[in-house]
């Protein structure tokens, strides 16, 4: 297993695009999530000069345990950048035909897929770790008092966040595997959100109970939108087991289909 991961990383670590895209990903992710408070303060200053009075610092965005759900929720939007990297990685193998040579040299098709999946797991874990560190640090900085039970509360959002990223990267891998060209794959990846939304809107009229089982919908439902709680609305402040099972199911399906596709095709 580790050997297969090393093989895929070897392809990536000397590839400039990989560092550029990953750098961009971790930079924008880090900047956005860590600077939320400064941004809000700036908004307040702007607001003050217009005579509006909002005491934003009283809103506990970065307080434990709210910070966990808030930051994992926001970070979820950036997974698309990481997915672009996955698309580039897999479609390169087809444009350069290196997948063919990898198989000729002695990888099995299953091993080839596993090597890509392992990289996806590693990227998801690194993203999760980074989000955790940012949430921890900002939480420690902005929470007025630090209560240990608040700090260790709701940590399951990181499990959900990992699954969210990994599921989406698995989807990107499958698309890249089927389409094989990077530009088109990225377009379809972006459009797939919209296409699914259109299908959902139509399905909603007939079989509304089906909606939570759609792949993109279930992925985005893993971590529920937390912000309405600041205007005193009920929110779901936990990860639902059903969502986890649905997304885990889709993740398996994505990766297995990618394997089947490779197994069946002449490369």
């Amino acid at each position: 297993m580790l050997h297969l991961l090393k093989i895929d990383l070897k392809k990536m670590t000397s590839y400039r695009t990989f560092w550029v895209v990953c750098g961009l990903y971790f930079f924008t992710l880090g900047m956005t999530t860590a600077s939320g408070m400064e941004f809000l303060k700036w908004l307040v200053r702007m607001g003050a000069s217009f005579g509006t009075e909002i005491n934003i610092t009283r809103i506990p965005f970065y307080h434990f345990p709210d910070v966990w759900q808030n930051i994992t929720y926001v970070s979820g939007f950036f997974k698309a950048i990481l997915a672009f990297m996955v698309v580039i990685s897999i479609t390169n193998e087809f444009t350069y035909r290196t997948v063919r040579q990898n198989i000729i040299d002695g990888l099995s098709r299953k091993q080839f897929i596993i090597s890509k999946v392992l990289t996806n797991i590693l990227l998801s874990l690194m993203s999760m770790l980074m989000v955790f560190v940012i949430a921890l640090v900002t939480g420690l900085v902005y929470s007025p008092t630090i209560v240990f039970t608040d700090l260790v509360m709701d940590l399951e959002f990181f499990g959900a966040y990992f699954l969210e990223v990994f599921a989406f990267l698995s989807f990107a891998l499958l698309l890249g595997m089927v389409i094989q060209r990077s530009g088109l794959t990225i377009v379809i990846l972006v459009l797939s959100q919209m296409i699914e939304a259109i299908i959902r809107a139509n399905v909603d009229d007939y079989v509304p109970w089906l909606i939570p089982y759609f792949p993109m919908e279930s992925i985005s439902n893993l971590i529920p939108l937390p912000f309405p709680r600041y205007v005193f609305r009920e929110i779901q402040d936990y990860v639902s087991i059903t969502s986890v099972l649905v997304v885990a199911g889709w993740t398996f399906v994505f990766n297995y289909l990618a394997y089947l596709k490779l197994k069946k095709s002449d490369i």
Partner: protein, 296 residues
Amino acid sequence: MNPVLKIENLTKNFGRLCAVNNMNLQVGAGQVFGMLGPNGSGKTTTLGMLMNVVNPTSGSFKWFGEEATHHTRKKIGAVLEHPIFYPYLTGQKNLELTAMIKGANEAQIADVLRLVELSDRKDDKYRTYSLGMKQRLAIASALLNDPQVLILDEPTNGLDPMGIAEIRELIKKIASDGRTIILASHLLDEVQKVCTHFAVLKKGNMVYSGPVEDVSKGAETVEVKADVDLTDALSSFQGSSSVLRENGYFEVTLTDGVKSKDLNRFLFEKGIIASHLVTKKKSLEKQFLEILAESK
């Protein structure tokens, strides 16, 4: 002893096109086996099936007497159609990657690079290599893990004469180590110069297979020249199937069993002394063209 490779009834259809039709073939240990056929005759498709990148429609094959798995492929070095590498990696890094996949010792990399004379360019990116260098890197890569079998598909395609000569030398050097080599080519003289055995493919059908030397048996061609005009004399000679005038010589193709000395005696008895008489073995090229024509 088991043959290195045994192919049974191997067939590949691409939709309605039959790229390889019911092929049966054996390659023995130590042979340099040529697969000869014009472009599109199914050579690459056959090799692709043998390396598990093309799924056969039907039929089977065995390497070393066993069903092939990915472990089998690690013992076979193969370059199909074009050299394939990661363009953004250096030659060295590309070979490190191949070595990881094959489970070969990284220490071999320096050796194979030296063999193909790429040591001083190993740290340049693959995409900066000339075509000849790419071909040589591909051969180096195929030689990692000390394979028992080497598969080369049109290894001299697109090279200049010097590059062609270099690659052929390299193949001979590798063959002299006792390795089995399978060489696909659309060039007759390449197969003739390099191979011990060969098969001829035409539109997916194998139309001939046998040792290269067997082919040069059969009818002989004789080149003759004399101070007098030979046209009349030669046309009255019974043992020829054709007479051609070429470059100032007469080329006489003899019928089966007739030898060049019979022609010499015939001329002598007619009072003609040949000033030039050379027995030419039947060239593979003619045989090849005949085989292709026969199989119509």
